[in-house]
Subunit: 221 residues, 4 copies
DNA sequence: TATGAATGAGGGTTCATTCAT
DNA sequence: CATGAATGAACCCTCATTCAT
């Protein structure tokens, strides 16, 4: 069943500059952490997959915790960069949101292990990792919030959204996107664009209604 | 560091009927699994917190895997029951949805460890556990889907929602609700009703627009 | 694979006189010890197969070691009794030996677990058990020795067998018989009489030659 | 009680090449398995006697089962090699048999733990081990059979031994030899040559009679 | 007579980590 | 730069045995 293939454990590894070796190791680590989770991953498997000996991993990356942190940082940075790169700053806000979502779904689909590290595993490994991934989430939430505010100004001039309301909305939005990412990645026939469009359909008109001052009420007219 | 306080490890545990001991053990297990995750949880800590010796845990619950499965089943059943109990079947669909969401947010807020087991940990522990929570999730998704369909019929007669579209929407909705649960539980000042209302505001009008045939489009008019 | 079927673990066991309960337990113990060996056998399985609770086993048989000892004693006594019963004291010595062998092969074939306890397991469980089964072996060896001596007197008047020589012969004889028992029991088409006849063919003429003073020599004529 | 003296458990073990450490470990394992049996032996004791930590044993030998199998293989190979080395191929068949027996008794006397592993313990540890020793036993039986056949041709031209008869004889012979080995090893005053001679006296003339067509019969003339 | 409830002790196995070369 | 050799600590699990009814 799902297994990580063995690395090239052929004798002595060729000498390489440190930066590249570190990249190899982090690559391997992301794969193993992504497939197994933090606790279930073993440094043995990581070193083996990277094609180096365990002491070298410790020499460069210091400890399992540090290695995992490095994975989180790298994958988070890559995801944020991908989203940023996918957005044209001069486009209208809704278009920017759609582009960002598309980039998000594309990137997570192409880097499932990295996404698993961020989404599934970093949140179950205890405080230090949660904080690490929280930083990225905040960055994305803030980006989305900016877009929503921009859209609100574009379309309505005076958005009647309280700050607390926005916070909840952002959580819901990001959570919905994350769930959709899982769904889209599990079914290869779902493209990133399709997922992004579903999100827009789901969220955009709701946001619009909110900005128009409409609220759902449990008291019927 | 988050820690579970030690149980009464004083001498021999008082004799109790099996059913009650089993409940104690499962209680402890939910707490430890919820705080640490499946792999990081130790049977020693669970036994200690339950105030019994490890062999008794094994005698009654058989293995770590079985114990975790038992936790998942119990917490899933409790959550589903809470949601069902919170809904008045004769209310309008949107009201039912709001009631269900309120019950959902209430229950997860009152049972954070159980919710962590279901939401965070069961999904990272490998196939058997994923299947176990999947069943619950399906049950909830199906419940939500029914409500949406009912609302669509009530309000629009002829919902133009393709099946694939509904699948994506359900994922997004449930994902949003789960994310909101995390947010609401982290901030005690957010009540379950507030979270439910946020969800309704976010989702209900969007669903309405969809049912009216409106779609977001990346081509501007 | 080889497994011991579960006993009647139906609720509370009926009250029985102690002697019979002890027999049930020893029966079960012989079966489990025979199949698994001393260390691998578990008191749980024995109690279960006997259809009683574990404390009762301890109440009657005291400990695992005592229980195993009781098994050895019982099976050894049964085997010796079977061999004695199979021999007519007024027959010629060779006939007596054949009858004894036949009884031996019959009994071991009919009680494979008991035989396994004596032959395979009692000898690997450390000093106390070895001594126990050694007593039986000595008894049989002494019986055989008597027969050989009788035969020698019958046929030759003056047996030229040194005592040490007899000791080695007896070991070889009994070892051969034990090995044949394993062979015969493994193949159901081999009857006890056939095995006994093989033994006689193998051993009797050799003994005869010895008693006639013939010896094998490594110096060729 | 028979005990294995503690190894040098002082601090960190000196660095040694893997092959040598493996040999040390297997040596220790043979001793402990030989004295205690498979189940009763503990990896702790083996590691301690080998003067290394338990993880190293697992790193090199993989598991208790694999370690036991390695012991069986090594001791079986050594025994077979010793017997082969003791036999001059150009000697007459009976002389060859005597030489083989002498080598057999010598080797088992010098390696009592190895012999205990093969004879006593490998046969009670379940299928995998039984198969492993079975191979060796077959090799020896086949060797002996060849010798008997050769002797038969040398002396009698036309041996009238049915195949089934030979099978039984081989079992008896090997069983007798094994029993004699136990007897000889228990009494240090019995030399290997003496044991071998006893076997020849016991078996050779009997075989000769058989090949001459004589059979024991339970019907007296 | 008989048992359900409970445990101390130990066994096999794995893992993150370090030392010495 | 890179590794083979080595381990302390912990974990899951089982077992013989006892206590209280």
């Amino acid at each position: 069943m799902g297994g990580v293939k063995a690395g090239q454990q052929s004798g002595r590894a060729k000498r390489l500059p440190r930066a590249e070796r570190e990249r190899q190791m982090t690559d391997a680590a992301v794969r193993v952490f992504g497939e197994r989770g933090y606790r279930a991953a073993s440094m043995d498997e990581i070193a083996d997959l990277a094609g180096v000996s365990k002491p070298l991993v410790y020499l460069y990356l210091n400890s399992k915790e540090d290695l995992f942190t490095a994975c989180i940082r790298r994958e988070a940075a890559a995801l944020v960069a991908a989203v940023r790169a996918g957005v044209r700053a001069d486009a209208p806000a809704d278009r920017q949101l759609w582009e960002g979502l598309t980039a998000f779904f594309s990137h997570t689909a192409e880097h499932p292990d990295g996404w698993a590290v961020l989404h599934s595993h970093a949140r179950t490994g205890g405080e230090p990792f949660v904080a690490e991934v929280g930083a990225m989430r905040d960055e994305i939430v803030s980006f989305v919030t900016t877009l929503i505010a921009a859209a609100a100004r574009e379309a309505h001039g005076d958005p009647e959204l309280a700050e607390r309301e926005v916070a909840g909305l952002a959580q819901a939005l990001v959570g919905a996107a994350e769930a959709l990412a899982g769904w889209a990645n599990a079914d290869p026939s779902v493209s990133a664009k399709e997922a992004a469009t579903t999100m827009m359909n789901f969220a955009w008109s709701g946001l619009g209604s909110l900005m128009d001052g409409q609220r759902w009420s449990d008291r019927r007219p």
